[in-house]
C-alpha cells in the first residue's frame, strides 16, 4: 500500500483561474455543463465545475486558463442569455488536505462533513469562522498526484518520489500552472486505488479574507500540525 500522509496540510491556491457562469438552469448551457446543484465535477478537459446555485456555476482551472475557459463556456451558451465572467481576482482559494482535514474544518464550520452528508464531489456555501465560504469536497487522488503523471513535478524542489501520496494539496499548488491542475474528469486513480483518496477540501471566499482564512486555518490546525505548503 502506498504511503499516505497522516498530517493535515493547507495550500493557497488563490492563483487558480476562476470563472463564474450565470445561466438559465433549464437552458443549453446548464445542460452542457451537466452538474447538479451542490455538486462539483471535473469537466473532462481542464476545469472543476462547481454548481454553487441553481443558476450559477464556478469553474476552477489552472492559472493561465481563464480566458480560454471563458471563451469555451461562452460558446456553449451561444444564443441564450448567460453571463460568463472571469472572477479569478475576486476570490481567495485554499486547499485543506489530510486525514484530519475534516476535523480541522469542523472547528470552523457548522456543516456536517461526514461522508453521508458531504461526500467527495459535494459543495456547499456556509460560514467558515464567520466568513461566507464555498466549500468543495475534492478528495486528492493518488493517481493524480503520483510523480510521473503529467506535469507532476512539485514546485520548490519538494520530494516527489514515485508512488508517494503525500502533499496532495502542495501538488495541487505546484500544478497550478498545469492544465491538469485539478485532474481530469473521471480520471481513474493510478492502480484503481480509489479507496486511497485523501480527504481534501477547497475553500473559496472573497479575496479580501485571504489572510484571515489562512490565519484561522492555521489556528484550527495547530493541534494537528497543520503546515502550509
Amino acid at each position: 500500500m502506498a504511503e499516505v500522509s497522516v498530517e493535515v496540510s493547507a495550500t493557497d491556491c488563490t492563483d487558480l483561474a476562476k470563472v463564474l457562469v450565470r445561466a438559465d438552469p433549464g437552458g443549453a448551457l446548464a445542460a452542457a455543463l451537466d452538474v447538479p446543484f451542490g455538486r462539483a465535477v471535473r469537466d473532462g478537459n481542464d476545469a472543476l465545475v462547481v454548481r454553487t446555485a441553481p443558476d450559477a456555476w464556478l469553474l476552477l482551472a489552472a492559472a493561465d486558463l481563464a480566458t480560454p475557459l471563458v471563451r469555451r463556456v461562452e460558446a456553449l451558451g451561444a444564443g441564450e442569455f448567460a453571463s460568463v465572467v472571469d472572477v479569478t481576482h475576486g476570490h481567495a482559494l485554499a486547499r485543506l488536505t489530510g486525514t484530519t482535514a475534516a476535523v480541522v474544518l469542523a472547528k470552523l464550520c457548522a456543516i456536517d462533513l461526514a461522508d453521508p452528508a458531504t461526500p467527495d464531489g459535494n459543495t456547499f456555501r456556509s460560514l467558515v469562522a464567520g466568513v461566507a465560504v464555498t466549500v468543495v469536497r475534492d478528495d486528492a487522488r493518488p493517481g493524480r498526484l503520483t510523480a510521473g503523471s503529467a506535469g507532476a513535478t512539485p514546485a520548490g524542489g519538494r520530494d516527489a518520489r514515485p508512488g508517494r501520496l503525500t502533499v496532495s494539496p502542495t501538488a495541487s499548488l505546484a500544478s497550478l500552472d498545469r492544465s491538469d491542475a485539478l485532474g481530469s474528469a473521471g480520471a481513474t486513480p493510478a492502480g484503481g486505488r480509489d479507496a486511497e483518496r485523501e480527504r481534501s477540501y477547497l475553500l473559496l471566499c472573497d479575496r479580501s479574507y485571504r489572510q484571515y482564512l489562512r490565519d484561522v486555518l492555521t489556528d484550527a490546525g495547530e493541534e494537528f500540525g497543520l503546515a502550509w505548503t
Binding site: 488563490t14 492563483d15 463564474l20 450565470r22 442569455f81 453571463s83 465572467v85 472571469d86 472572477v87 479569478t88 481576482h89 475576486g90 476570490h91 476535523v103 469542523a106 472547528k107 470552523l108 464550520c109 457548522a110 456543516i111 456536517d112 462533513l113 461526514a114 452528508a117 469562522a129 464567520g130 466568513v131 472573497d206 479575496r207 479580501s208 479574507y209 485571504r210 489572510q211 484571515y212 484561522v216 489556528d219 484550527a220 495547530e222 493541534e223
Partner: protein, 927 residues
C-alpha cells in the same frame, strides 16, 4: 492514608509529582485529583462554606463535590475533586481570610439570625444612601475565587461542531452498551462521560465489575464509529436539537465546546447519590458511600480511621466492606432497612462522633451515608421530557421522552449488570434505527427502579444545600413566610442555585418543603431544569476570537509605510500616514493616491439593466451611453436614502455599478432581492466584483499627468475622456483595468479598478512614476476632509435611518416624472410636506473651532433645530467647516444658527450658500 495497590486504581505510582496547597508542597501521583491527593496526605478541610464559612471537606469525591471548590494557578472555582493534579500546580483555598484554617469570616456564624432565609431581601436596604458602603463590605464576603488578572494567561478555548447519528450522554455500562449497539448498526456515535475514563460505577466496583468494564472498554475501543469524549460533560440541549458538550483535559487546550447536532440523544447519566440531612451533616468526615468507594478503589486513599456507616441500600453495605478491607475500623453499620437511624453528627472542625437513633453515641472520624439516589433527569426535561416521583423507589424517574431522545441505565431503573447492558443495547439499537440505520428491532426490556426507603431529612436541622448554606430550618422558614411553591422557595432561599445546581440537593429540598407544607413530594413538584447542567466557563462559551478581517491587496504596503489603521466594518483601511492635513494639501496642489478597494462593485450583465437602474435609483438611466458614468441615489420604499454611487456603462449590456464601502453587501442583496422576487422576468445578472478589483483613486491637478504615464490604449485628453466617463485599458502593464474619471475629492481625479492580484503592482508603479510630481498616498481621513471641503455627503454619515432624499439635498437627482422607482410614493409626499430638515453647509464663526459631530443646533433653550453631521478643519481654507441638518426656516444662506457643543457652550455658525466649501463651481473637478 495511602493504601497499597487497588485493582481498579487510576493513579500511576510510577509517576510521583509534587504540587502546592496553600503554599505548602504535597506529594501526589499522576491520576490523582486534587481532592484525592490532599486526602491521601491527611487533609480533611478544603474550603469554607458560602455564608457561615464552615469548614468543608470531601462529600462526593467527584465533580459534584460542594466542599472542594478551589483556585488552581489563578483559575477560580475549580472542582478540586475532579481536576487532576499536575506537577507544580499551585492550589489554594478560596474566599477565606486570613487562612483556610483560621478564617475570620467564620464569625458570620455569630450573625446567623441576620443571615437567615432571604436576608438579602430584608437587610442592607435602609437607609438607601448607605448602600454604596454596604456594597463595599458585602463584596468582601462574596463567594468564589478571585478572577484572574487581565495579564494572566488566558488559556486556549475552542469550539467544534459535530453531527453524530447518536450522542450517548453517560459512559457507564448502559451508555457503553448503547453506544456499541448503535455503532454496530452503522451509526456514528459520540459517547460522552464526565470522568477521565469510561465505566461509571463499575470503575470503583468489585472484581466482577472491573472484569466487565475491561470487556466493555475493549469493545468500545475496537468498534468503529464511536468517538469517545471523556472528561467531558453534556451541559444541555438547546433549540434545534443542539447539544452542548464541554470537553476538558485535552493537551494544549483549556476547554472545548462541542456543538453537536445528534439525530438521537441517549441519556445515560446514571444516578447521583444523595446526602442525608441531619445536624452536622456538613462536617468534614461526612461522606457518601460512593465517595469512600471512589477514594479507596480509584485513588487508594483510606478516607478515615474509624467509621460509622448509615445505609439504606446494598451500596452502603458494599462501602462498609470496602472500608473494612482498607483497614478502616467500621465501628457500626446502621441499616435503615432494619429501622436504624442516625440523628446528629458531633464535631467542630470534623466528625468526632455520631449520635444514633437508639440514643447511642459512636466515636468516629468518618460517617458514611447511603440513603438513596437521585436520577439526574435535568437533561431529559430540558428536551421536553417529563419525570415523575416514584415513592417506592424514593426518586424521580423519566416518564415521557420527546422524539429524538431515549434514556437508559440507572436514570431509568435498576438491575443487574447484565440487565443494564441489555437495556443499553436495546436502546442503542432503537436510537440507530431512529437515526436511519438498520438495527435489530429488539424490544427494550423493562428496567424498574428498585424499592428504596424514603430517607431525606432526619430529626435534626441540617444542611440541605451545601453550596448555598441552606438548612432545613431555612426552608421551613421560607414556607412559614408563605413561599409554598417550590419555585419560589428556590428563589427565596437560593437552594439548588449554587454550583451543583440541584444535583445533590434538589430532591432533599423538595422533600423538606413537602414536609413543611404537608403536601406530598409529587404535589410539590420539581424546579425547572435549564442549561447548563454543569458549570461552564466564559472561555468555553467564547471560543477562539475569530473576528473576520478584510484586507486590500495593498494592506501590507500600508502597514509597512506607517499607516494608522482604521477599522471600517470588517475592512482595515489606512486612516492616514501621519499627516492627514499634509495629505490633503498634496492632493489639492499636486497628486495623491488612495486605496479605495472596499468600494462596493457589481458587474451587471443583461438587456434589462436600464430597467433595473431606473427602478432602484431615483434618477434617470435609460440614455446612459457606452463609456458614460452617472451618479445615482438609491432609496428604500420609505424614501430614505439607502446608498449612492456611480455606475458606468462598459458595453451594450455590461455595466459596472459601485456602492458605498459600508453599503456594498446590502446593495448586493437589494439588487438580488428585486431581481429574484419582484422582477424575475428581467434578464440581468449581478456579479459581485468588490474583491475582484483593487481600486485606487488618483486625485489632484497633476493626476492626469501621472495616470497618462502608466496607461496604454486610453486617450486621457479632456476632450476624449471628460468628467464622468469610463474607459477600459491597460495600466502599468496590467490589462483589463477599468479607468473612471470621477471625483469624490473635488479634484481632477481618476479611479483605477485593477484586477486585484495586480493591485500592489499598480500602486507601487504610481508612486514610483510620480515622484517628480510629488505624488504621495493619502488615507481615509484626508479623503473625508477633501470630500467635506467639496460638500459631498456620505450616506450613513450625513444621513441616517430617517433621512429622506429631499432632506439630503438631492432634489436635483430625483425624477418624479419617471413612471416608477423605489421610494417614489413616499418622496412625492415628502416633496409637498412642510417642515423637513435640510442638509446645508455650515461654517463656525470661530474658524478655529471644529464642532464635534452630532453637536445639536438649537434655538433658545428648548428647541432643537438640527445637528452637525460632519465637521473638520479644512487645510485648504484654513478654517473649520461642517455639514449639518437645519430646520427649513433656518436654511437660507447667511442665516446664523447656534451650535450647542457637548461641553455646554453655545456658539454661532453661518449657513453657506451651498454644500461645497471649496470650488463650488467645480472648475477643479473638470480641469
Amino acid at each position: 492514608m495511602r493504601l497499597d495497590g487497588q485493582p481498579g486504581e487510576v493513579i500511576h505510582r510510577g509517576t510521583p509529582l509534587t504540587f502546592t496547597w496553600n503554599g505548602r508542597p504535597y506529594p501526589a501521583f499522576a491520576g490523582d485529583t486534587i481532592g484525592s491527593a490532599l486526602a491521601a496526605a491527611g487533609e480533611r478541610v478544603f474550603s469554607r462554606s458560602l455564608k457561615y464559612h464552615r469548614p468543608r471537606g470531601l462529600l462526593t469525591a467527584d465533580g459534584n463535590d460542594p466542599g472542594c471548590l478551589v483556585q488552581v494557578d489563578g483559575e477560580p472555582n475549580v472542582r478540586g475533586a475532579h481536576r487532576r493534579v499536575s506537577a507544580g500546580m499551585a492550589v489554594t483555598a478560596q474566599g477565606v481570610w486570613p487562612s483556610l484554617r483560621f478564617d475570620l469570616k467564620a464569625l458570620n456564624r455569630l450573625a446567623g439570625p441576620a443571615l437567615s432565609t432571604g436576608f438579602y431581601y430584608k437587610t442592607f436596604i435602609r437607609p438607601r444612601r448607605l448602600w454604596p458602603y454596604y456594597e463595599r463590605v458585602l463584596r468582601r464576603f462574596s463567594p468564589g475565587g478571585r478572577v484572574p488578572s487581565p495579564s494572566s494567561p488566558a488559556g486556549r478555548y475552542e469550539h467544534r461542531y459535530a453531527h453524530p447519528d447518536v450522542l450517548v450522554a453517560g459512559g457507564g455500562p448502559a451508555g457503553m452498551a448503547a453506544a456499541l449497539a448503535a455503532a454496530e448498526a452503522g451509526a456514528r456515535v459520540m459517547l460522552v462521560d464526565d470522568q477521565p475514563a469510561l465505566g461509571g460505577h463499575l470503575r470503583w466496583g468489585g472484581p466482577d465489575g472491573l472484569a466487565a468494564l475491561a470487556q466493555l472498554r475493549a469493545a468500545v475501543a475496537a468498534a468503529g464509529g464511536i468517538e469517545v469524549l471523556t472528561d467531558s460533560v453534556v451541559t444541555g440541549q438547546y433549540e434545534g436539537g443542539l447539544v452542548a458538550v464541554v470537553q476538558h483535559g485535552l493537551p494544549g487546550l483549556t476547554e472545548r465546546l462541542v456543538k453537536a447536532r445528534p439525530r438521537q440523544l441517549v441519556a445515560a447519566a446514571g444516578l447521583i447519590e444523595r446526602p442525608y440531612v441531619i445536624a452536622g451533616n456538613d462536617l468534614p468526615g461526612v461522606m457518601l458511600s460512593t465517595a469512600v468507594r471512589r477514594l479507596i478503589n480509584l485513588y487508594a486513599v483510606r478516607p478515615g480511621a474509624r467509621a460509622v456507616v448509615f445505609t439504606a441500600n446494598d451500596d452502603g453495605t458494599a462501602a462498609a466492606a470496602d472500608l473494612a478491607r482498607a483497614g478502616v475500623d467500621v465501628r457500626r453499620v446502621v441499616d435503615a432497612r432494619d429501622g436504624g437511624d442516625i440523628v446528629r453528627v458531633r464535631g467542630r472542625g470534623g466528625v468526632r462522633a455520631v449520635e444514633c437513633g437508639d440514643g447511642s453515641v459512636v466515636r468516629c472520624d468518618l460517617l458514611v451515608t447511603a440513603v438513596g439516589w437521585t436520577a439526574p433527569t435535568g437533561l431529559l426535561t430540558m428536551t421536553g421530557g417529563r419525570a415523575a416521583y416514584r415513592a417506592g423507589a424514593a426518586r424521580f424517574v423519566p416518564t415521557e421522552l420527546p422524539d429524538g431522545v431515549l434514556a437508559t441505565g440507572g436514570l431509568v431503573g435498576d438491575g443487574t449488570l447484565a440487565e443494564l447492558i441489555g437495556h443499553g443495547r436495546a436502546v442503542g439499537q432503537a436510537a440507530a434505527r431512529r437515526a436511519g440505520r438498520t438495527a435489530p428491532a429488539s424490544p427494550v426490556p423493562d428496567l424498574v427502579p428498585a424499592p428504596h426507603p424514603e430517607l431525606f431529612a432526619g430529626r435534626t436541622n441540617g444542611f440541605v444545600d451545601f453550596t448555598e448554606d441552606v438548612s432545613t430550618k431555612d426552608l421551613a422558614a421560607a414556607v412559614a413566610e408563605g413561599y409554598d411553591s417550590i419555585e419560589l422557595v428556590k428563589r427565596y432561599t437560593t437552594a439548588t442555585m449554587g454550583p451543583t445546581q440541584g444535583k445533590l440537593e434538589a430532591v432533599n429540598t423538595i422533600a423538606v418543603v413537602a414536609a413543611a407544607t404537608g403536601r406530598g413530594i409529587p404535589e410539590t413538584g420539581t424546579t425547572t431544569a435549564r442549561p447548563p447542567y454543569a458549570p461552564v466557563s466564559l472561555g468555553a462559551l467564547a471560543g477562539r476570537n475569530y473576528q473576520p478581517v478584510r484586507r486590500s491587496p495593498m494592506h501590507d504596503w500600508h502597514v509597512a509605510h506607517g499607516a494608522t489603521p482604521l477599522v471600517a466594518g470588517a475592512w482595515i483601511r489606512p486612516d492616514h500616514y501621519g499627516d492627514p492635513a499634509g495629505e490633503v494639501r498634496a492632493v489639492r496642489q499636486g497628486v495623491g493616491i488612495i486605496d479605495v478597494t472596499p468600494l462596493g462593485k457589481f458587474e451587471l450583465r443583461g438587456p434589462h439593466i436600464p430597467d433595473l437602474l431606473e427602478l432602484l435609483y431615483v434618477n434617470r438611466w435609460r440614455k446612459l451611453a457606452v463609456g458614460a458614468v452617472r451618479y445615482g441615489v438609491m432609496c428604500t420604499e420609505d424614501g430614505v436614502v439607502f446608498d449612492d454611487g456611480v455606475t458606468g456603462r462598459l458595453g451594450e449590456h455590461r455595466y459596472l455599478l459601485t456602492a458605498t464601502s459600508s453599503g456594498a453587501e446590502a446593495v448586493g442583496e437589494w439588487l438580488e432581492r428585486w431581481l429574484q422576487t419582484e422582477r424575475a422576468h428581467w434578464r440581468v445578472h449581478v456579479v459581485p466584483m468588490t474583491d475582484a478589483y483593487a481600486s485606487i483613486n488618483v486625485a489632484g491637478p497633476r493626476s492626469r499627468e501621472l495616470v497618462r504615464r502608466l496607461t496604454t490604449g486610453i486617450d486621457l485628453s479632456p476632450e476624449a475622456f471628460p468628467y464622468m466617463r469610463v474607459r477600459l485599458g491597460e495600466v502599468a502593464g496590467v490589462p483589463d483595468c477599468v479607468v473612471w474619471r470621477i471625483g469624490f475629492t473635488g479634484e481632477l481625479s481618476y479611479e483605477l479598478h485593477v484586477p486585484a492580484g495586480n493591485g500592489l503592482r499598480v500602486w507601487e508603479a504610481l508612486l514610483a512614476t510620480g515622484v517628480d510630481l510629488g505624488v504621495r498616498p493619502f488615507g481615509v481621513e484626508a479623503q473625508r476632509i477633501l470630500r467635506l471641503e467639496k460638500g459631498h455627503l456620505v450616506v450613513g454619515q450625513d444621513t441616517d435611518g430617517l433621512t429622506q432624499a429631499y432632506s439630503a439635498g438631492l432634489d436635483w437627482a430625483i425624477k418624479m416624472d419617471k413612471d416608477d422607482f423605489v421610494g417614489k410614493p413616499e418622496l412625492a409626499w415628502q416633496r409637498v410636506r412642510d417642515g423637513q430638515v435640510v442638509l446645508v453647509g455650515l461654517q463656525p464663526a470661530d474658524p478655529e473651532l471644529v464642532p464635534p459631530e452630532s453637536s445639536q443646533l438649537v434655538e433658545g433653550d428648548r428647541r432643537i433645530v438640527g445637528r452637525i453631521t460632519s465637521s473638520r478643519f479644512s487645510p485648504t481654507l484654513d478654517r473649520s467647516i461642517a455639514l449639518g441638518f437645519v430646520a427649513p426656516d433656518l436654511a437660507e444662506p447667511g442665516t446664523v444658527v447656534t451650535m450647542l457643543l457637548p461641553d455646554g457652550r453655545r456658539l454661532p455658525a453661518r449657513v453657506m450658500p451651498q454644500l461645497a466649501h471649496v470650488d463650488p463651481e467645480g472648475k477643479r473637478l473638470h480641469g
